[in-house]
């Protein structure tokens, strides 16, 4: 090959040299890299695998040592998760046992018989998960929309004291969140915002805003201003230019920012524990408190965590194409 470059072809070139052919060595490297990635991914996914398995195990399988890998799946954990139960009176157990001999027991009856507990009503899990969806979802929307406008202004207009303001916005992140929970708790009490959806949405919006402004400003700075100027000259107002020109180009950045905000609001534990008790309580503190109730229902906790995982996984999956480009922070242009 190197001879070729030095001397040129000594006879007519009759066969094509494919530049897209990968050399065996490069292909081997590629395979090795792929294997390493797969192994790492499996290692990372082990906790999730264990959690998923646990969610479908019966009480006996959960606590067995060594852990059972192959087991008969059961929905017991999910029944526990979605219901409130009380210790069943002995008479009821006896009746169930008799019914079991004749062979027609419903799923709920079977769970009651196995655990000695009787279902008394629905649990609050669905309500908590709904709270999480509302609070995390809306606060993400607000943080991204407000952040987008602020970032655009900081990026495009000669805002007085721009650098100081940007630093100020960043500085709101420097205090550990836990430090401000007590003052916030007192403020929210006084303002009547304790345990309200509005209060939590406001809190997460404000908390995410700094991240959102900084991330989005970076993305908007990357978009050359000439595009908007061209649109202005072409007969559009600044708002129309923003909508038609800036938004489509900022979409990857917006998606990445939204995911970061959503994950923060979705996972947030400390504020939620302090500032909510019932109406606006989100999933993270409620799953944690399941640990504290009587006997630990590991399968129910695992089932609850699984349900908690799904919405974020779905969002990230839907936005994956934007994210791949977005999280490189504009290192790759267009």
């Amino acid at each position: 090959m190197s001879d070729f470059y030095e001397t040129g072809p000594s006879k007519p070139v009759t066969e094509s040299i494919r530049v897209d052919k990968v050399s065996p060595k490069a292909r081997r490297m590629h395979n090795i890299r792929a294997i390493v990635v797969v192994i790492l991914a499996i290692l990372m996914l082990i906790p999730i695998l264990v959690m998923t398995q646990t969610a479908f195990k019966t009480r006996a399988d959960v606590v067995s040592v060594p852990p059972t890998i192959v087991f008969k799946p059961s929905l017991e954990g999910f029944v526990f998760l979605f219901t409130e139960r009380a210790i069943a009176p002995p008479g009821r157990i006896k009746a169930l046992q008799e019914a079991a001999e004749t062979g027609d027991l419903s799923l709920f009856d079977r769970v009651a018989l196995n655990s000695g507990q009787e279902i008394t009503g629905l649990s609050d899990y669905v309500g908590r998960l709904t709270n999480s969806l509302i609070i995390a979802g809306l606060s993400t929307v607000f943080a991204v929309v407000l952040g987008l406008f602020a970032a655009y202004a900081f990026s495009r207009f000669p805002v007085a004291g721009k650098d100081d303001l940007m630093f100020f916005i960043l500085s709101t992140r420097m205090l550990p969140a836990v430090v401000v929970t007590i003052p916030l708790f007192i403020m929210y009490r006084q303002l009547g915002m304790h345990d309200t959806h509005i209060g939590m949405i406001l809190l997460y919006t404000v908390f995410n805003l700094s991240l959102s402004v900084w991330l989005l400003k970076g993305f908007i700075d990357e978009i050359p201003i000439e595009y908007e100027e061209a649109a202005l000259v072409d007969g559009y107002t600044r708002m129309q230019a923003f909508y038609k020109i800036v938004l489509p180009q900022a979409i990857t950045g917006i998606a990445a920012t939204a995911v970061f905000c959503l994950i923060f609001a979705w996972n947030e534990y400390a504020f939620a524990l302090m500032l909510t008790s019932d109406t606006a309580r989100t999933a993270p503190p409620s799953i944690a408190t399941m640990l504290g109730r009587g006997g630990i229902e590991w399968s129910a906790i695992a089932a609850g965590s699984l349900g908690f995982l799904i919405p974020v996984a779905v969002v990230v999956f839907l936005l994956r194409n934007y994210l791949l480009r977005g999280v490189t922070f504009g290192a790759i242009r267009q």
């Binding site: 100027e229 061209a230 000259v233 072409d234 559009y236 107002t237 129309q240 180009q249």
Partner: protein, 353 residues
């Protein structure tokens, strides 16, 4: 189409004065070229006309009417940017249709289609209409950018070095097309460039801009034959004009550091020290020539040859037609066309005419 007039425009960016009392008029249907080196303030001038920037003082007039309070959309100009002008998320068709779809213009659908087709035809980009702009070549991109300007009838075309990012061959062909288009459609055009050849070949009139000031406005002939300053003289013409310090002694002009002297012109008053400019084509080898020197370099270009001739401590460049038979270190005799000499005073201003 409109005439556009700038009156005493000044623009500062903090400490930098980008434009300093700039005044000139682009007449209706004229091809006006603003020529100047990088950083002269050319882009700033265009941006002020398009209202993307606001001047610190002075006025912009369209057809004699002040447009200082008008927004970019109101001014209805077409701007071809130096770079980054195509919307990367849209197809070529959508890029061309974008100005027509502006809520301000409300062009009906069939008309948009017709106008885009026509512009695409003029610029030979009909086959590209469905492509995304990201994977076009540089030449194609610039064609689309020009196309976006010609789909509508703006009051003036502002073009910011539209050809400077293209390779030489493409630049030449697009230059001819642009010129043809402007002449057949009679568009008022303000074309910005740092390339003197573009300016000389395309312009009806040229305005020379240097460090934020208009140095000279005139036809290509004016600019080339009667440069107002040494700056203009050196900016236009390739190879560059020969410029020498000279002393007046006994009604002779002596070029400092050489054995060359010419009679002092009598039709104008000359200070004791001047600068003399001689275009390379006005130094003509001739066996019976009055002056002589040594050939120290030849640059054959095919149709012509550049000779570098040493006389004393000075080196003159001479441009002669065809391939020269001169060889290195030959002694060459030459004449200087006296009535084509340019005289400048110490500050660089032209003396006389």
């Amino acid at each position: 189409m409109s005439s556009v007039e700038l009156q005493h425009i000044t623009k500062k960016f903090r400490t930098v004065t980008a434009l300093n009392d700039v005044s000139f008029t682009v007449k209706n249907r004229e091809f006006f070229v603003l020529l100047g080196p990088t950083g002269a303030g050319k882009t700033t001038t265009l941006r002020i006309i398009a209202a993307l920037l606001h001047q610190d003082s002075g006025s912009v007039l369209f057809d004699g009417e002040s447009v200082d309070d008008w927004t970019p959309a109101d001014r209805d100009v077409a701007f071809v940017f130096q770079q980054y002008s195509l919307y990367p998320t849209m197809t070529v068709y959508d890029n061309l249709a974008f100005p027509l779809r502006s809520p301000m213009r409300k062009t009906p659908g069939p008309e948009i289609k017709e106008k885009v087709q026509r512009a695409a035809e003029i610029l030979h980009i009909g086959h590209l209409l469905d492509r995304k702009t990201a994977n076009l070549s540089g030449g194609e991109m610039q064609r689309v950018a020009i196309g976006r300007a010609i789909v509508r009838e703006p009051r003036i075309f502002l073009m910011d070095e539209p050809l400077s990012n293209l390779d030489a061959k493409l630049r030449e062909s697009l230059r001819v097309e642009l010129q043809h288009m402007q002449k057949t459609q009679g568009n008022t055009t303000l074309f910005v460039t740092h390339d003197q050849i573009e300016a000389l070949t395309m312009a009806d009139r040229i305005g020379v801009l240097n460090e934020g000031r208009i140095v000279q406005v005139g036809t290509p002939n004016d600019i080339y034959d009667r440069p107002a300053t040494t700056f203009v003289a050196q900016l236009v013409g390739s190879p560059r004009i020969n410029l020498f310090d000279a002393r007046v002694e006994d009604s002779q002009l002596w070029l400092v550091g050489s054995k060359i002297s010419v009679p002092c012109p009598t039709d104008r008053t000359m200070p004791a020290t001047v600068q003399v400019g001689i275009r390379p084509e006005d130094i003509q080898p001739d066996p019976k020539g009055k002056f002589s020197g040594e050939v120290i370099l030849t640059e054959p270009l095919g149709v012509e040859t550049i000779l570098h001739i040493r006389s004393g401590e000075q080196v003159l460049t001479s441009l002669i037609p065809g391939i020269s038979s001169m060889r290195l270190h030959d002694t060459v005799h030459f004449n200087i066309l006296r009535d084509r000499l340019h005289y400048f005073d110490d500050s660089g201003k032209r003396i006389g005419q």
